[in-house]
């Protein structure tokens, strides 16, 4: 008999996320992986600034709330303090790819032995739907009301592709959580990203293409479909770097 | 109660800071209060360098030497810049290889030492600073007990480069014995 149960690493605090938001799915996947690898007791998570700012309440492991974009720097400190710590950051696109880009790139370049969960939903959710560094060309947001004009505000940043040019990082994969098959793949990638850290392999980042029905102005179902129609064609899923596999 | 303020000045790379540090250790070993303050910044990399050293019977107040009792000038810009700041009755040591003009002041004691030429003749071209230092100690009468000089040299020359100790000491002897 299969009993549906909450992972131990997930706390009982009610999530504050909007209906149809996929943060809850990714939280659960991270918690399941912590349970399966038996690492909750030595895990330290770093929450970002953005919609998942209160992730520190949702995981049962020790947690730190970082300044906007600085989670990889904080994680570097935590990991260097005691390499036995299992350290992960959980960051959105504004946090990781805009204000915290330097911290992201340099922790990857150092091959810092940490796990980065990167939620890319192409929008700033917490502040109410402004343009993100990953918003698509033409995408309408509060701060690109006529659609993202690439001649004025540039092109979206493809984080996995960009970081894959560095010699530093161990593992980079882009996944999505808009259907059962993709969620299963996402779980596999997240597990690998944590296993890499346990095995001392180094910087592992999983970019999760996610939905934001509220700020995209769509029903949850339409938002999941939009991921297939618009997001994945611009941000192709797959492994962008896996050093161990190539050896 | 005596306080002596030294100002070493020259090009970066002439060992200005090194000889200043040696002198500070010489004072420290004598149980004096000492301070050493370098100029810092871009001038460290090839421009003019200076170094303030104070050796005193009482605790050192300001470590900045603006009115030196003793000026050791190892290039012309340094003499031009600091000649007037020396206290009346003070002493100026001039590296006469690199400074062709004479000191204009008449109320100070001046020693001209062709230190750069001597260092070159001695096949230790980098030790003009220590030849000057030897002269300073000779004039001040603090070279009489050579073991004290060796003790201070040991503080500024790392154990790994112990062979340099004798070389520095020889350079200092040259300076002490120079009668210009």
């Amino acid at each position: 008999m299969i009993v549906f149960d909450k992972p131990h690493a997930l706390s009982d605090a009610p999530l504050h996320y909007c209906p149809g938001c996929t943060h809850g799915i990714v939280h659960r996947l991270v918690a399941e992986v912590m349970d399966e690898l038996g690492i909750e007791g030595r895990a330290i998570g770093i929450a970002p600034v953005g919609c998942s700012v209160m992730a520190y309440d949702y995981f049962n492991c020790d947690m730190i709330e970082a300044a906007h974009g600085r989670a990889p720097a904080v994680a570097t400190g935590v990991k260097r303090s005691d390499p036995n710590n299992i350290v992960f950051t959980y960051q959105g696109d504004g946090d990781l790819a805009s204000i915290g880009m330097a911290e992201t790139v340099h922790s990857a370049a150092r091959n810092e032995n940490i796990t980065v969960i990167f939620i890319n939903n192409a929008i700033y959710g917490m502040t109410g739907g402004q343009m993100a560094p990953t918003s698509l060309p033409g995408q309408v947001t509060q701060t690109s009301p006529y659609g993202r004009d690439v001649s004025l505000c540039g092109y979206p940043i493809k984080v996995c592709e960009m970081l894959s040019q560095l010699d530093g990082p161990e593992y980079l994969e882009r996944v999505a959580v808009n259907n059962v098959k993709n969620v299963k793949n996402a779980k596999k990638a997240i597990k690998k990203a944590f296993e890499n850290q346990v095995n001392g392999k180094g910087f592992s980042l999983v970019e999760v293409i996610s939905s934001c029905p509220t700020n995209w102005g769509m029903t949850p179902a339409k938002a999941l479909a939009w991921i297939d129609e618009k997001m994945i064609p611009y941000y192709p899923l797959g492994v962008y770097k896996d050093r161990s596999a190539n050896q | 109660m005596k306080t002596t303020q030294y100002l070493f000045a020259g090009f970066g790379g002439q060992g200005i800071l090194f000889s200043g540090k040696f002198l500070a250790y010489q004072g420290l070993n004598e149980g004096k209060n000492v301070s050493w303050l370098p100029s810092y910044g871009p001038e460290m990399r090839g421009g003019t360098a200076s170094c303030s050293v104070i050796i005193s019977d009482i605790p050192v107040g300001s470590p900045i030497v603006s009115k030196p009792d003793v000026l050791i000038a190892m290039n012309l810009p340094s003499l031009d810049k600091y000649e007037d700041s020396v206290v009346p009755g003070g002493t100026i040591y001039v590296d006469s290889t690199l400074i062709s003009r004479k000191v204009k002041r008449e109320d100070v004691t001046v020693y001209y030492i062709p230190a750069t030429q001597m260092a070159s003749d001695n096949k230790t071209p980098t030790l003009a600073n220590m030849i000057m230092m030897g002269k300073v100690l000779g004039v001040e009468g603090t070279f009489d007990e050579e073991e004290k000089v060796v003790a201070a040299l040991k503080k500024v020359i790392s154990a790994k480069r112990a062979d340099m100790l004798e070389v520095n000491l020889n350079a200092m002897r040259l300076g002490k014995d120079y009668q210009g």
């Binding site: 030595r42 720097a73 400190g77 | 900045i64």
Partner: protein, 354 residues
Amino acid sequence: MSEKVLMKGNEAIAEAAILAGYRHYFGYPITPQTEIAAYMAKRMPKIGGTFLQAESEVAAINMVYGVSATGKRVMTSSSSPGISLKGEGLSYLAGADLPALVVNVQRGGPGLGGIQPSQSDYFQATKGGAHGDFHMLVLAPASVQEMAELTVKGFALADKYRMTSMILADGTMGQMMEPVSLDFETEQAPEKPWAVTGTKLQRKHNIVNSLFLKPEELERTNFERYERYKYIEENEVMYEEYMMEDAEICIAAFGIAARVSKNAINEARAKGIKVGMIRPITLWPFPTKQFAKAAETVKQFISVELSMGQMIEDVRLAVNGKAPVTLCNRAGGMIPSPEQVLAAIEDAAKKGGN
């Protein structure tokens, strides 16, 4: 007592930090404090510690935040423009009640400014340094020996009160060499039950955080923090009095300005002028009571600063109108000479200080 060695102020800070049990350093090169990073780069690998040159000052202070959250002693150092970048982290450290040691070897500003000694970050250091209501313990050394001793003291105070200790030095203090003895007591870090060390599945999770969305709750954390600050103001003030017994003119000066002022005071005393000095060693908490007490007998105060006059505001608050407080200063990397300070003293004496 161990043999005295000549050390640069910057090196004395680094060695004292290692003696205080600190094994993690994060920094970014900037003149005139880079010797600290260089010293750490050499020493840390040999003693099982971490030296990491961060990609920015911002990253460095956030690495400090991470190590501090795990309960270990940690520091960073910089000079004025770099400290501005660290401002974000200083505020977060305060909001999360994390201990840390931050060294500012000041240079002239504003902007990129220069690289020569300055004290013009006094406001930034003593009035908070970034957004929000908070203080740092600010320690101002006036000798290489104090650079070392206040570093050790800074760690102990930071741990005791769960806040940042800042060593507010200047380019002179960082670059000068003086004899220093490193033979002093160092306290062990206290237990830190709040630290994130992994739950081991044995306890509820610890959270290191500065976010409080309910204003009532955020207000409570501010009130509690200021109760602690009040206790610190009562108990941790450090200062030195020099020739104050019969002084009618009182110099207020810290760091290199106090060194210069001592020369001037000695010369003025030789001329029969009754002048002394109060040298704050803690700039926050400020020795307010000591200045207030002095104001009962002193007729004139002179604040000697390497800035356009910043500490003078705290002196005036303490003196509270009982006597005039004038400024004797240089700025932008210049240092007042003993002659300039002596002239200010003589001027005060003429106006009726004596």
